[in-house]
């Protein structure tokens, strides 16, 4: 038993070893270069992925002795103390699958999220804006999985990061360098007793340098860590922007407080989605052309609300025209509403207002890194892959990465391997790469399929959607996939 513990201790640099090592260094090089500040894990990026990674490492008894550091450009104290009045919501929300929620619960973070601001939803309505073909994801009697009928949880990204920070504070033991930009990453030096020439050294603003046994890039789509590792990310820009906003609805939704519904309509310019938040609030993600996005951002609240209502109701012809108007969309919408027939129960309730200052947009792209690992480097979250938001999977993929990477590190620690070596990290890539690649590919194809306003694909895709809708088992298969409770293919 003791032998195992000793072997384990030798495998990673525990705090006492580091101290001893540093004493050595001081002895040998007391007059030359500053002694390297060595960490087992340096995580660049304190977004959802980075914070979950550190929380998971700290919460796991096997990995909790590791010396870990976080480098984040933003001021994290602001994130931690983030608070909004109960009727105001941030415009950056993500859906968390039950799988992600379970993971967050296991690492003790879930309970630190403000639960009054988390909204589970149970049904989905997805339809084709050109042909009106529709698929309804509602649980037929008997088809509901034992885990529950929740498809996913809508949650503000800030509620998640703030909750993770609170949990991290509780766990303690992380050297946090916040408000610190990574300025450069280099290799360490070769020393007599320790060769650091293959070890990354992170230079942060203020002159501090952190040497990492394993450098984790959780630094988002433009990852400096990925650039340092020389890992190429392939993909393309969609020439689309995601317009987000926090919306005020006429009511709690057609299903009331306890059965919330997510809606998505595929328009030729991209999908528009409305996702339920608590009470009369909903969040919008509208993928559209950059021109349309900048028009939407320029509109008065009244006209913006009219455009959102139009996006779920009017014909694509009307919508296209209304995007050419500089103003008066509200008036145009009320007229066209009289000449458009739809089933009001199959679409979201009417939007009555937009929360001030929440209309924003982000460019959408698809990127996939050639690999997630290098010598002493691993990438997680958006640093490894950026996905079109139409399936609401980006953040969840990052959680899947973190879960897998922590498992890999745990294995290396338990088996006395160097956690930074490619050999140790191999199992992380093999577990995540294909799964992410399939999901990226499927979502990319979906985007392309639905971008066609006409042509031979249009009737075919409607046929597909209608067919899936008609086939109960296939549908509940898809729903379980979306909820992350089915057999793992994604």
């Amino acid at each position: 038993m003791e032998a195992v513990a000793r072997r384990k201790a030798a495998a990673y640099v525990c705090r006492s070893c580091t101290r001893q090592f540093q004493r050595q260094l001081r002895r040998n090089y007391s007059n030359s270069a500053p002694r390297p500040d060595i960490y087992d894990v340096v995580c660049v990026g304190g977004g959802p992925a980075g914070l979950s990674l550190l929380t998971a490492l700290r919460a796991n008894p096997v990995t909790s002795h590791l010396r870990v550091a976080l480098v984040e450009a933003q001021d994290l104290s602001k994130v931690k103390s983030w608070k909004l009045p109960p009727n105001k919501y941030s415009n950056r929300c993500s859906s968390l699958t039950p799988t992600s929620a379970l993971f967050l619960d296991q690492i003790g973070a879930w309970e630190h999220l403000d639960q009054t601001r988390v909204q589970p939803y149970h049904e989905m309505q997805v339809w084709d804006g050109v042909t009106d073909a529709r698929i309804e994801f509602d649980w037929a009697p008997g088809s509901a999985p034992v885990e529950g009928t929740t498809i996913a949880y809508m949650n503000e990204n800030l509620n998640l990061t703030s909750g993770l920070l609170k949990r991290l504070e509780q766990l303690g033991g992380v050297s946090v360098f916040e408000g610190a930009n990574v300025e450069n990453i280099t290799f360490g030096e070769e020393m007599e007793d320790l060769d650091l020439s293959q070890w990354p050294v992170v230079h942060i603003s203020g002159g501090k340098q952190l040497t990492a046994r394993l450098l984790v890039g959780a630094d988002g789509a433009n990852s400096p860590v990925r650039a340092f590792a020389g890992i190429d990310a392939k993909g393309w820009d969609y020439n689309r922007h995601g317009v987000v906003a926090t919306l005020e609805m006429e009511g709690e939704g057609w299903g009331g407080e306890h059965t919330k519904i997510a809606y998505q309509r595929f328009l030729p310019t991209g999908p528009v989605a409305m996702l339920p938040m608590p009470g009369n609030v909903a969040t919008l993600v509208w993928s559209t052309t950059p021109e349309n996005a900048s028009l939407l951002k320029s509109l008065s609240p009244k006209d913006f609300v009219a455009m959102v209502n139009a996006a779920f109701r009017l014909s694509t012809v009307d919508l296209a025209f209304m995007h050419t108007q500089g103003t008066d969309q509200d008036d145009e919408y009320s007229w066209r509403l009289q000449h458009t027939s739809f089933n009001p129960r199959a679409i979201p309730q009417t939007v009555v207002g937009v929360q001030e200052g929440t209309v924003a947009s982000f460019p959408l792209k698809m990127r996939h890194a050639d690999t997630y690992i290098g010598e002493r480097v691993a990438l997680v979250g958006d640093a490894a892959h950026t996905i079109h938001p139409l399936a609401g999977q980006g953040l969840n993929q990052g959680q899947g990465d973190v879960q897998s990477l922590v498992k890999t590190i745990e294995f290396a620690v338990t088996h006395g391997q160097d956690i930074g070596s490619i050999m140790s990290l191999e199992s992380y890539v093999s577990e995540r790469y294909t799964a992410n690649h399939v999901l990226l590919g499927v979502v990319d194809k979906l985007h392309k399929l639905y971008s066609a306003g006409s042509g031979p694909l249009v009737p075919l895709r409607s046929l597909g959607l209608n067919a899936v809708n008609a086939l109960g088992p296939l549908k509940s298969f898809f729903m379980k996939q979306a909820a992350g409770s089915g057999t793992k293919i994604f």
Binding site: D318, A320, F321, Q338, H339, S341
Partner: protein, 352 residues
């Protein structure tokens, strides 16, 4: 000799009848049966459910007749057959147009209007074109070469009135019903814009233009009427008017989006330029020239043979008289047949 005489006398019969009564079939399609209708302005609940003739749903707009699928088929076949049999049953041709415009083509035309600022304004205001709405004396007072004056001159030359439109009845969507109505009411403006007369040949050329421009199926079917034209007319159609129609119809902007009521004082050439329509060679002129040419040739022949009048002319006159009687009788018989078919189709669609 006798055959050609017969043909000539038939032509005489045709010319003898009043011009208006003989407006060719294809034109009648969009202008007939002076039943004035209330404009379809109000929206009522849209009718999409299937139903039987026994529990026919309420109309979606005044004058609307909701049809079952079978009735729609009956309308398509019946109106199609009779309009072929009798080119003057404009009301039925109009019905045929409605039967073929749904479910796809009228929506395309409506969407073309919805994609254009003026088209949208027309759909929103829903103006109607009648002799009242247009103020005929005012049009006559406009300077020549304005759109309004060209239009009224064309009406006067052809001897027609803007008030002869069938009301739309069989298109279920009330907005699309208005689009059909608007299309009908604008038809004479297209005549004026292109200068094409309402004789069969001009009408077919205009229909080809409209088909290339609007893609309404009825306009396309009407082009088949080209096969009922005389050889020389067919040749002219093939060589001049068909290529003109296709080129201009495809190139021109959607003519349905012209707010004619607002363009009346505009220079007609200016509007043609904006729309990308160049008027074809004047058909009436060509026809007149050809007729004169023919007469001159005849005269020449007679002079060459050195005779003027004689026993052969008497024979010719007699043959012409007889041919007239025969043609009259043929016409009567045809009317009878049409009536019979109409009854049969009518009662069978009642029974559906």
């Amino acid at each position: 000799m006798e055959a050609s005489a017969l043909r000539r006398s038939a032509a005489l019969v045709a010319r003898a009848s009043t011009r208006n009564a003989i407006r060719p079939a294809v034109c009648a399609a969009i202008s007939n049966s002076s039943t004035s209708s209330t404009p379809p302005t109000q929206l009522q609940t849209q009718q999409t459910r299937q139903f039987s003739a026994l529990n026919r749903p309420p109309p979606n707009y005044p004058g609307h007749v909701p049809l079952t699928r079978l009735e729609r088929l009956g309308l398509f076949v019946g109106s199609g057959l009779i309009s072929l049999a009798d080119p003057r049953r404009g009301d039925l041709i109009a019905s045929f147009a409605e039967a073929t415009a749904t479910p796809y083509f009228i929506y395309r035309l409506r969407d073309a209007m919805l994609s254009h600022p003026t088209g949208r304004r027309i759909l929103r205001l829903r103006p109607r074109i009648t002799s009242q709405s247009l103020n005929i004396p005012y049009l006559r007072s406009l300077p020549p070469n304005t759109v309004g004056r060209t239009y009224i001159d064309w009406l006067d030359r052809e001897g027609v009135s803007p008030d002869t439109r069938s009301a739309v009845r069989y298109i279920d969507d009330e907005e699309c019903a208005y689009v059909m109505q608007r299309y009908r009411e604008c038809h004479d403006f297209y005549h004026a814009l292109t200068g094409l007369p309402i004789v069969r040949e001009g009408e077919v050329a205009l229909k080809a233009f409209e088909f290339a421009n609007t893609l309404l199926p009825m306009t396309g079917f009407s082009v088949f009427a080209a096969f009922t034209m005389k050889k020389s007319e067919q040749k002219r159609f093939r060589e001049i008017y068909f290529p003109w129609a296709v080129k201009n119809g495809l190139r021109a902007k959607e003519v349905i989006n012209v707010f004619w009521e607002e363009e009346l004082e505009r220079d007609v050439d200016d509007l043609r330029r904006e729309l990308g329509v160049e008027p074809p060679p004047d058909l009436r002129e060509i026809r007149k020239r050809e007729r004169e040419e023919k007469r001159r040739r005849k005269e020449m022949e007679r002079m060459m043979s050195g005779r003027s009048g004689g026993p052969e002319d008497d024979v010719l006159q007699k043959a012409e008289k007889e041919a007239e009687v025969v043609a009259e009788r043929v016409k009567e018989m045809k009317d009878e047949v049409v009536e019979k078919v109409g009854e049969v189709v009518g009662s069978s669609s009642m029974r559906v």
